[in-house]
Amino acid sequence: MMNWTLALPEAALACAGLAILGAGVLPRRHDMFFPISMAVIGALVLAGVLVLGQGDGAALAGQYVSDAFARFSKVLVLIGAALALTLALDFNQTDRDLARFEYPVLILFAAIGMMLMVSANDLMTLYLGLELQSLAAYVLAAFNRDSERSAEAGLKYFVLGALASGLLLYGMSLVYGFVGTTSFDRLAEALTAEHAASLGLVTALVFVLAGLAFKISAVPFHMWAPDVYEGAPTPVTAFFASAPKLAAVALLTRVLTQPFGELSAQWGQVLWLVSAGSMILGAFAAIGQRNIKRLMAYSSIGNVGYALIGLVAAASADPAVRSEGVRALLFYMAIYLLMTIGAFAVLAAMRRRGRPVEEIEDLAGLARSDIGMAVWMLVFMFAMAGVPPLAGFWSKLFVFRAAIEGGYVWLAVIGVLTSVVAAYYYVRIVRVMFFDAPGAAGALDARPASLTVVMAATGLFTALFSVAPGPLLAAAQAAVAAIAG
């Protein structure tokens, strides 16, 4: 019944977290950031290995489930967290406030939260996982406490996040009130045709959706994202844009397809609007941006819109289309995760005389001062614009295909049109890097080795994905079989 060994990765990671926290506190020194970061990366890798060895099944009174879907998402979450932490290695050491050992520890606890999210098999587990991740995220956003922008970002994120959590909890309590259980399995059993479309449940569903849509910053629950992305330190922004987003999308997918599968007609409509709105806003609002982190915020809103196309297709009545949609979604998020981290690695390397710079114009003439970084950025931007044969093209292709097969032709048309618009601002960055004359402020600082590693790893993946797309597709296929088979 308890079967707690199934949850070994989370348990091990939590124990490691406590040990690392102790190791950070006890020496009473100020230079613990680097060793603790290394220890956390080690713990994340260890957890990744344990995840790969995890078996199938439900555990801990059915509140925790381990299946291929959870494992796929967890591996990506851990990769995202580890890479985001690697991004911070050099960046944080330039600032005394950022170079505190709590930073990696918070990322570790956020990772536990995300792992719980994707493994949740009960509304309560879902909520606690989400809160664990969010709370760590609020603190991380405000981590640079002497920066007004960072503090403001943290506070804004916290207040709005609390509202979203409130909506989520209200929805969950309505579900409990109407069905009498919070377990996903029993919800799925109870929500058969006769229960399905009651007004109360539909309302509850929308509240739950709203709470989760906030976490993935989908329109109209996206308002926090540009401010927080801009205000938070760059490595924190990189983290926000990558792993938590993937975890929340995975969670949303599981919640909607498993316990609320019978209500697909309802959530399908809502998600259609959310997806279309996100794509449109992401494409148009980014055009006028001067701050590149803000631009990436809108870009990530747009990307969530594209990913949600897959989830809309998963609302279809045809099981083949359903699994196609979920697969496209997972595939999209996996590629998005790596592309985004790569792009943020370039952003983190944008420093002049030790101080971070964030305007697009600061990239001017990068091709002349640092051609390697310019080329990686070109790869990421073109990939996000969906230029073949880069990875980003395939992910878009798959979601559009899922949409067309599900009969959501208009959504695909909106997607294609907005991606053309979005290509404009991605290409603009490339133009600034390659064709504009460098500004008066001089060249950017030399990039540190840790960022080069991240850029090269994600860049090679993005550029060469077409050569061997098989393994990722196969993994996504296996993950889909676990929840939308």
Binding site: E152, P220, V387, F435, L473
Partner: protein, 638 residues
């Protein structure tokens, strides 16, 4: 051999692009030239082997994507159609690489240039040897990328950047339709392999999509995609601007190869187009309109490369309406001959520009024919071929196209015939206008420039002479196979003609005046050019002054750019500005409206925790929530 023809250019691109810094510019450029020579040495025999030895083949490379429902593999498809393209592309590309060695000799970043050029060649070969639509699309985007890079090669120039972006954006519009076409093909046929699609056309004749016959819709979408790449009317605006790139690039990409990809696509998809009569009619009309439109504009342009660019646009129009009336073979034949003489003209123009110290305005040239005799001679050959004067290559292919248009006995075909005839006249006129203004008359350049006029080095002249030979001979030598009595054997089914399509037979049985008409039109055009520019040089100016409106209309390219600016560019900018205002201005430029207390905060420079804004964010969330709930309630109660 088959694999080598495609991959040697990639090898060259890699050597020059990645190792260029270490091995130096000389080694880099010669390595690409050697690789291209090897590719040509593979590609040309491959052409003869496949087309004349009747030895079509498909070379599998690797399985690429294999996942539920979509299976795509890398494979090189060598049938006659591909082989013609491979032979032509490798040969012309080799000559242009060679020519570039001389032309780009003073450029500081040669490895980059040669890497791009070779990369382009590889992508083009990938496109023409594609075995399925995905691989074709890969090449299609690849040539677009290479073209973007090469147009913007001189990135110090603002105009080159603008042209590169314009080409990219306009091509993306075309690609959008192309992608929709591919998606719809997959939807209809459940496969993207050519063999599977062509085999299944019969079963899908009656399919409908959104109430429209699916085959028609696919054909129209693919054609719109082709329009973007091949600069057909409406999406042609990028091509003249693309002349910002180096001249060899214009010759290779924007004359001989990439822009013909659209024609190739239509020919490749002929089994589908044959059953889409409406789409074919659209192709005919658009092609004919382009041929006519571009020829009129070409008559008044003053930039030597732009004149030739509009001429390219016009000739592409010929190819399309040939395909539109069902004479795909004639279209490909014209594509084949055109590659030789248009590359020749561009390289000749490059030689002129080289001689004139980088001057491109033909009003500032003149009187140099004795100083550059070889260039002058090859320009004559190229122009004769372009104008369709007998025994030159263009004569065979252009005549065949016009005959086919006449023989189609349809309204659109007749329209194409008439417009084509007028365009043939205009073609001859602007070609000789160019020749006379550039080479004859009194020198209009300053003495400094005139003193430096010189013939190009041998490494540039050899490609010119070889292409000139091609421009003379290819028509006469290959006409019997491409469109003559042996065509069925030659094409071996690689281009499909439906049972009801007898155009290749009918085009030989038109009234006797039809084959003569284009030649007569050509000679008339030449004569008119001589009269106006050689013997009565004042007349053109007076004409321009008398018909000022008409002249400006032509000079401004029928106001297409201005129209697009008004319809697309400005509204898009306006939308962006609105989105910027609504989405951001309050954050960047100020504080929330009405929040006086917060304004005081900001003024004090205090911690700007703008509670007003958080509240509005929260409101947005709640409003969104209420909207969704209401929407579902309305949906449920209805």
């Amino acid at each position: 051999m088959y694999v080598g023809a495609v991959f040697f250019p990639l090898l060259g691109a890699c050597i020059s692009g990645f190792l260029g810094r270490w091995i130096g510019p000389i080694a880099a450029r010669w390595s690409t030239v050697v690789c291209m020579a090897l590719a040509a040495a593979c590609g040309v025999p491959a052409f003869f082997d496949v087309a004349f030895g009747h030895n079509p083949a498909t070379v599998p490379i690797a399985a690429w994507i294999a996942t539920g429902g979509l299976e795509v593999s890398w494979a090189l498809r060598y049938d006659t159609l591909s082989a013609v393209m491979v032979g032509m592309v490798t040969f012309v590309s080799f000559l242009i690489h060679l020519y570039s060695v001389g032309y780009m000799a003073h450029d500081p970043t040669q490895p980059r240039f040669f890497a791009y050029l070779s990369l382009f060649t590889f992508m083009m070969l990938m496109l023409v040897t594609a075995d399925n639509l995905v691989q074709l699309f890969f090449g299609w985007e690849g040539v677009g990328l290479a073209s973007y890079l090469l147009i913007g090669y001189w990135y110090e120039r603002e105009s080159a950047n603008a042209a590169a972006i314009k080409a990219f954006v306009v091509n993306r519009v075309g690609d959008l339709f192309f992608m929709l076409g591919v998606a719809l093909t997959f939807w209809t046929f459940g496969s993207l392999e050519f063999t599977a699609i062509f085999g299944a056309v019969d079963q899908h004749l009656g399919d409908r999509f959104l109430g429209v016959p699916a085959l028609e819709l696919i054909a129209v979408l693919l054609f719109l995609g082709a329009c973007g790449k091949s600069a057909q009317i409406g999406l042609h605006t990028w091509l003249p601007d693309a002349m910002e790139g180096p001249t060899p690039v214009s010759a290779l990409i924007h004359a001989a190869t990439m822009v013909t990809a659209g024609v190739f696509l239509v020919a490749r998809m002929s089994p589908l187009f044959e059953y889409a009569p409406t789409a074919l009619a659209i192709v005919t009309v658009v092609g004919a309109a382009t041929a006519f439109f571009a020829a009129t504009v070409g008559c008044v342009q003053n930039d030597i490369k732009r004149v030739i660019a509009y001429s390219t646009c016009s000739q592409l129009g010929y190819m399309f309406f040939a395909a539109g009336v069902g004479a795909y073979q004639a279209a490909i034949f014209h594509l084949f001959t055109h590659a030789f003489f248009k590359a020749l003209l561009f390289l000749g123009a490059g030689s002129v520009i080289h001689a004139m110290s980088d001057e491109q305005d033909i009003r500032k040239m003149g009187g140099i024919w004795t100083r550059v005799p070889v260039t002058y001679a090859v320009m004559w050959v190229g122009s004769l071929a372009l104008a369709g004067i007998p025994i030159f290559a263009g004569y065979y292919s252009k005549d065949a196209i016009l005959e086919a248009a006449f023989a189609s006995h349809s309204a659109t075909g007749m329209l194409a015939f008439l417009l084509g005839l007028v365009a043939a006249f205009l073609t001859a006129f602007y070609s000789w206008r160019l020749l006379i203004l550039v080479f004859h008359g009194a020198p209009r350049a300053d003495e400094h420039v005139m003193a430096h006029v010189h013939e190009s080095p041998l490494v540039m002249l050899v490609p010119l002479l070889l292409l000139a030979a091609g421009a003379v001979l290819t028509g006469y030598l290959f006409a019997p196979f491409f469109i003559g009595h042996a065509w069925e054997e030659f094409w071996a089914g690689s281009i499909h003609n439906a049972p009801h399509n007898h155009i290749l037979h009918d085009m030989h049985e038109v009234p006797a005046w039809v084959p003569l008409a284009p030649t007569v039109a050509g000679f008339t055009g030449i004569a008119l050019a001589y009269v106006l520019y050689m013997f009565a040089p004042g007349v053109p100016e007076r004409l321009a002054a008398t018909f000022r409106g008409f002249y400006l209309f032509l000079l401004n390219k029928w106001y297409f750019d201005e129209l697009y600016d008004a319809i697309f560019v400005r509204p898009a900018l306006a939308i962006a500005r609105i989105a910027f205002r609504v989405g951001d201005q309050r954050i960047i430029d100020g504080v929330p409206n009405g929040a006086a207390a917060l304004a005081v905060d900001a003024a004090r420079g205090a911690v700007r925790i703008q509670t007003g804004r958080v509240a509005s964010y929260a409101f947005t969330m709640i409003i969104g929530l209420v909207l969704f709930v209401s929407l579902l309630y309305l949906g449920t109660t209805r």
